[in-house]
């Protein structure tokens, strides 16, 4: 049995032993084994738990219409989507190569399966055969390669580039590090030759802008676009409404619901609640703290919730005056009681924040001890750093979603107790996104979405020189530890490195993290087959709607 495991990947047998010796928990085992190419069913078999997620219960086809309240943004250019809710529309029309479910397990979708080389540098992607586009063409390797190349092209401006830059691009990130980095083996097989080891390639292929589009449409998505998904888009009006209709000839199990409508109720919380309570919509894309109490009261509505690593980071830019001193940064963290912050800002939904930006939900989370509020300690540190009676500063933040300014106000109250008087400047979101990663915002509060892996988040936000390093934090020791952790397959080894990483963040890090948000939304009880996903993805083909 171990031979065929070794055939898939040499490390698999060792992983199975670590599972049986209890040195790795079930979730970590499932995730790593499937990433290495083990099929989900086999992985669950080893782990000894029944498989959830993909297997959709049998349901009858109905001609129901389901309306969901969700912002309808501009959808023309999927590769450059900035918001998840944009991708939720295109995701029903087109597919991704892979899919990471709510349990953090990545499954092949348009792929049959994939194989990773022992040194995790060569990935072979085998396409599923017999998949038809909505215009009848058969889905072949060329289509996938066209998309891959497009993501790699800086002129297109896709954020997928940020993820694959480390292992597929040259140093400046202007082009592939080697022409054969994306190599077509045959009509149904593609091989990725990476510059450095990367375990999370399948997860990167499911990053929300990484939709597989039909080359003939040159990357433009609109009404009637060709797709491999279960639905086709029949109506689209920015800021108003999108209508998706079930499509004939879908390669997978046909969707149960005939029409899906996404209705834009603006970002006004009360409007969505009223729409849900008056039956104008059957569900929300994303619940906000303002709506939680109201949603609980509605009998005909079911609240779906999932713990996520979504958070907001109050980050300090070391190159600016008070933040240069690590003691000041640490004092700012010590001042915070993240339990209370979770209560005030997010109704207690989720987990109290940990300032090293690695959440319990992350498989490689290492418990280095929870940093409690220590007002006197913080004051002592500030005095040590030359601020005996505190100082005045200013923090920028966005006005919505609702929990952000509340979190900032609550933190400001706590910082006040250690003498740090914080003026809060709430900016309209467009203005905030102009300055979030610029030196003009020395102290700001930015939201970070959920990443399946802790190292992914650390890599994107704190590695020196990375585009999204909004705090301009630069710690060579931290960078080295991070690259090492990304390459280690062995869970134990990696946890040791994580401990060091987390301690660096606590001692020297530029961030205060008030809470981890439990993501929740509300759906009509008659809507079945919906799974709350940490990055709020919708898979409408799994949904069904029983008329009461």
């Amino acid at each position: 049995m171990s031979e065929d495991l070794k055939k898939i990947h040499s490390y698999l047998p060792k992983l199975v032993d670590q599972l049986q010796e209890g040195r790795v928990d079930r979730r970590e085992f499932l995730r790593t084994s499937t990433l290495l190419g083990l099929s989900a069913t086999a992985a669950y078999g080893f782990a000894g738990i029944t498989q959830k997620g993909l297997v959709a219960p049998a349901r009858a086809q109905s001609n129901a219409t389901v309306r969901i309240s969700m912002r309808v943004g501009t959808l023309e250019n999927p590769a450059t989507y900035s918001w998840v809710y944009d991708s939720n529309v295109a995701r029903q029309v087109c597919d991704y190569l892979t899919r990471t479910d709510s349990e953090n397990i990545t499954h092949p979708i348009l792929l049959e399966n994939w194989e990773a080389s022992d040194d995790l540098k060569t990935w072979t992607l085998n396409l599923k055969q017999g998949v038809k586009w909505s215009n009848g063409d058969e889905f072949v390797a060329d289509h996938a390669i066209w998309n891959l190349k497009r993501w790699a092209d800086p002129a297109v401006g896709s954020s997928v580039l940020g993820l694959i830059k480390g292992y597929l691009m040259n140093d400046e990130g202007t082009e592939l590090w080697d022409p054969k980095a994306i190599e077509q083996v045959d009509d149904y097989t593609i091989r990725l030759n990476c510059r450095s080891a990367q375990l999370a390639v399948p997860e990167h292929l499911f990053h929300y802008p990484a939709l597989i589009l039909h080359p003939s449409e040159n990357g433009v998505f609109g009404v009637g676009s060709i797709g491999t998904g279960a639905y086709s888009m029949t109506e689209y009006e920015v800021g108003r409404k999108v209508v998706l209709k079930r499509r004939e000839g879908y390669w997978g199990k046909p969707a149960a619901i005939e029409t899906i409508e996404f209705i834009d109720n603006g970002d006004d919380a009360a409007t969505e609640v009223a729409a849900l309570s008056s039956g104008q919509v059957h569900g929300l894309y994303e619940g906000s703290t303002q709506q939680y109490a109201a949603l609980q009261k509605m009998e005909h509505v079911q609240i779906h919730q999932v713990g996520t690593a979504q958070t907001g980071v109050a980050r300090m830019q070391p190159q600016h005056k008070p933040w240069g001193d690590a003691r000041v940064r640490k004092a700012m963290r010590l001042a915070l009681d993240t339990e209370k912050l979770l209560q005030v800002a997010h109704l207690g939904l989720g987990l109290p924040g940990e300032h090293h930006h690695v959440c319990e939900v992350h498989p490689e989370y290492a418990d280095v001890g929870f940093m409690k509020q220590d007002i006197e300690g913080a004051k002592a540190l500030l005095a040590e750093a030359g601020h005996p009676d505190g100082f005045d500063t200013e923090i920028f933040c966005k006005g919505d979603p609702e929990w952000e300014p509340i979190a900032v106000q609550a933190m400001a109250q706590m910082w006040q107790q250690i003498g740090v008087r914080v003026k809060i400047s709430v900016l309209p979101s467009t203005q905030y996104w102009e300055i979030w990663n610029k030196p003009t915002a020395p102290f700001a509060f930015t939201t970070w979405t959920h990443r399946p892996l802790g190292v992914m988040a650390l890599g994107l936000a704190y590695r020196t020189g990375v585009p999204w390093n909004e705090s301009f934090y630069s710690n060579p020791e931290f960078d080295a530890l991070l690259t090492k952790a990304e390459g280690i397959l062995d869970v134990d080894e990696r946890r040791k490195v994580m401990v060091e990483l987390e301690n660096v963040m606590l001692e020297d890090g530029p961030a205060c993290i008030p809470l981890w948000r439990a993501w929740f939304t509300a759906m009509d009880k008659r809507l079945k087959g919906y799974e709350a996903h940490p990055t709020s993805y919708f898979f409408c083909e799994n949904w069904s709607f029983e008329e009461a």
């Binding site: 919380a269 703290t289 109201a294 005030v344 609702e402």
Partner: protein
């Protein structure tokens, strides 16, 4: 031609000046509408003045225990908002914000309005046309665009709100003052002043402006009402004062989402702002009634 005017108490023109502070207030007693208005305005003025002593809690302090049930309770007479902050304290402190920003804005608008209104009305000719054109152009701007351009681009702060409100109110005042000046400059005492060699500034400020006091005071009360609404609207649209300082409009915006379950959070600031504005409007109506009567 000595003329017997129509029967009954004479009704002098709107321009009859209300002279003498005490006399004015004494007269106010006679109009019930004016009294109610004055009472409301006085109530909120006192609340604003003694805010530090009246407010039971620090308006920005979060009471974590109350988070579970923010409805009015023994500790929090008017309940708390969604962040557990005491509503009563926030409304009290909110009155201080409104009753400092609004008067300043109105005063600024009046200084500009009177200055340009007098110039336009007195000199007439090209200066009048140019100024009226500018006033018309500003008035034809949709108000919301003026607010956004000033506040969204230069950042929300009390100063910017004052500038925004002044910018929108000044043209209307210019128009009123110009109308009054056009009427007063024809009076004989203005000609007499010219003939004894008074400077134009003296004539405008000492001979003309004091006689426009009657209608201007009435308009000032109305203007206060409109300004308070404007500040509320700015708060409601997210262009108001930055958190955490409580300002009524912002309080409604933050808590409007909880209407369906905790309506008290939005209703209280709405009641506060409405009562203050009603107060100013009733006061204005009372004053107008009096200035017509004496």
């Amino acid at each position: 031609m000595a003329v017997e005017t129509s029967p009954g108490p004479t009704r002098r023109s709107l321009l009859a000046p209300v002279t003498g502070r005490l006399r004015q207030i004494a007269l106010l007693r006679e109009s019930p509408v004016g009294m109610v208005g004055a009472a409301l305005v006085l109530f909120w003025a006192l609340v604003a003045l003694f805010a530090p002593f009246l407010a039971p809690y620090d308006p920005n302090a979060n009471d974590y225990l109350a988070l579970a049930d923010p409805t009015p309770s023994a500790e929090h007479w008017l309940g708390t908002d969604n962040q557990g902050r005491d509503m009563l304290s926030r409304v009290i402190w909110g009155s201080r914000t409104v009753l400092t920003v609004a008067p300043i804005a109105v005063i600024c608008a009046y200084v500009i309005g009177c200055l340009f209104g007098l110039l336009a009305g007195y000199y007439r000719g090209w200066m009048d046309t140019v100024m009226m054109r500018i006033a018309d152009i500003i008035l034809s701007f949709p108000v919301i665009i003026l607010y956004i351009i000033i506040i969204a681009t230069y950042g929300p702060s009390a100063a910017n709100i004052v500038i925004a409100v002044t910018f929108t109110a000044a043209p209307q005042i210019i128009r009123i003052v110009r109308g009054l000046t056009l009427e007063i400059r024809e009076r004989d005492y203005v000609a007499a002043a010219k003939m004894r060699g008074e400077s134009t500034w003296y004539i405008m400020l000492v001979e003309i402006l004091p006689n426009a006091r009657g209608p201007l005071i009435v308009d000032a009360c109305l203007r206060m009402g409109y300004t308070i609404i404007a500040i509320g609207v700015l708060g409601f649209l997210g262009l108001g004062l930055p958190p955490p300082d409580p300002d009524w409009g912002g309080m409604v915006k933050d808590t409007y989402g909880f209407m369906s379950i905790w309506p008290h959070m939005a209703l209280i600031p709405c009641a506060a702002i409405s009562s203050l504005v009603v107060g100013f409007n009733l006061l204005a109506d009372g004053l107008r009634e009096i200035s017509l009567r004496d």
